[in-house]
Subunit: 303 residues, 2 copies
């Protein structure tokens, strides 16, 4: 008998990554495409093609999609998206009908969190906070052993906690949010301030890894902002684990060391002493693996 597998599709603003995903998170038949941004209809057709291509010759039980979109889980709707043309689409029912399979959807940060939880750094944990440091700061929550999505599925915007009232403007239009200080975009700004107009976050991290004092100090300051945010989550959720992922999250201990010091100072006992703050394990595959897990979730009866 063939092992159950699903198709996971991680939809980004520049790339679409699709693959067959097994229950243990292992990946086969990986395909990557440029994202067709010309219209909603062409994007949906491109996603259909990804699914159809991956299905050829395989028994597939369900589909899962991670979308860079605000999701209404009750309606299965992609309400709005910033970087792709999906606005007010009944995505889940459209995909169910088109492909005749159960479909799970979620936003990309939740999908990555579920990926790390099912098969990565947060395996077997009941209470997990994940932050993805990329263009923005995304986040996901596992509470009491299951994904928490807020009242309608748009919650857990963990990058938009206020860590400094009236602080630096955020990409969302707010001020002093964690994203204003700890995203890759914020690190680009810091890199320009320290090393001049040509510098960016990647450069800052490289210089930090090489031990350049100014870069280490600048990353430590970003790490302390990250720590203030993590302390907030530690005091609210008392998680076992905080997982830091995303492209800029790869700065690793250059951020996490200083962040841990702030958590030790601002967190309450016992959570501040028991929480582990670790790097994500799945790298760029977290999203597609998590998307696959959404497919498996769609196979389960409602809890």
């Amino acid at each position: 008998m063939q092992r159950t597998q699903v198709i996971g599709v991680d939809v980004g603003g520049t790339k679409i990554l699709g693959a067959l995903i097994a229950p243990d998170g292992s990946i086969s038949s990986r395909r990557q495409y440029d994202t067709d941004l010309s219209s909603q209809e062409t994007l949906l057709r491109a996603l259909d093609a990804v699914v159809e291509t991956l299905r050829v010759g395989h028994e597939v039980a369900a589909l899962g999609f991670g979308l860079p979109s605000r999701i209404d889980q009750r309606a299965g709707r992609a309400v709005a998206s910033v970087n792709i043309p999906l606005q007010g689409v009944d995505f889940r029912s459209r995909m169910q009908e088109r492909h005749g399979l159960p479909v799970g959807i979620d936003n990309d940060a939740n999908a990555a969190t579920i990926g790390e939880w099912k098969t990565g750094a947060a395996r077997d944990a009941q209470d997990v906070v994940m932050l993805t440091l990329g263009t923005g700061v995304g986040g996901g929550l596992i509470l009491d052993g299951k994904p928490y999505r807020g009242a309608t599925g748009t919650g857990a915007e963990l990058g938009h906690i206020v860590v400094c009232r009236d602080g630096v403007e955020c990409l969302c239009g707010g001020h002093g949010h964690l994203e204003s200080y700890a995203s890759g975009t914020a690190a680009d700004r810091v890199a320009r301030d320290v090393f001049g107009a040509g510098s960016n976050a990647r450069d800052l991290v490289e210089r930090g890894r090489a031990g350049e004092e100014e870069a280490v100090g600048a990353l430590a300051d970003i790490g302390r902002w990250l720590g203030a945010g993590i302390a907030t989550f530690v005091n609210v959720f008392e998680p076992e684990l905080v997982v830091i992922g995303g492209g800029f999250g790869a700065a690793g201990e250059l951020l996490l060391g200083p962040a841990r010091k702030v958590v030790a100072q601002e967190g309450l006992a016992p959570a501040r002493d028991t929480v582990r703050i670790v790097e994500a394990e799945l790298g760029a595959d977290a999203g597609v693996i998590g998307a696959g897990m959404l497919g498996f979730e769609a196979l389960e009866p409602e809890a």
Copy 2:
């Protein structure tokens, strides 16, 4: 047939309030005592006496206690307390054995939240954040239609989110926590700064209600800190409702008006537009009613 009722006991640092509580939250046979702080054993015996007194002549199905303590729900343990002598007590099993009844326990802020949720301002809501502004800032969460208590039951310390990294020192030893700016203690400090050494939070609120400009302005500033905290919770939980209670919370619209403006600016759509920010309804009874609800919860089979 007699209607099912339980005993709720709200244990504070100065007063113990006990009562018979019906499923709809209605209160009868209310008793109030000064808290005996001389030792753990005398406090426990005083609580026994409250229960025994209230039981006389009544059929009681369960007991519920709201404690100003860090609770380990799995063990039913009062791990530590700041204002009363309960340290490392297996409180639930002790009370079960002593009184031969099912027992529910929780910390006082969670109990108040459950009271407002079952019978007060948050009736019928699925996702609720409650903040109690008193000596500190306590908080409770209802998520997906049930109380959220963190991994072991000590979570949801909502007063200790960081709203200003390296800010004003908090009672907990941290810095720039919501409690540092929006508690009654913080309002005492503000009152002294504005009106001199003899002034306190109560005075500040009275002057604000009388329309004194300086007091209104000072409360509005506290309200904006509160709003920064509420915006954080709105972005994380997308709650239907944020309920503000506690003694200093009675400042009401003097705080909530300015807080709503910050939420409108710092919250993400759609949550910032749909959330309602309201005053608590049960006043000083929230704790004892919530304690009663913990008793009813102890009667239910495990979910």
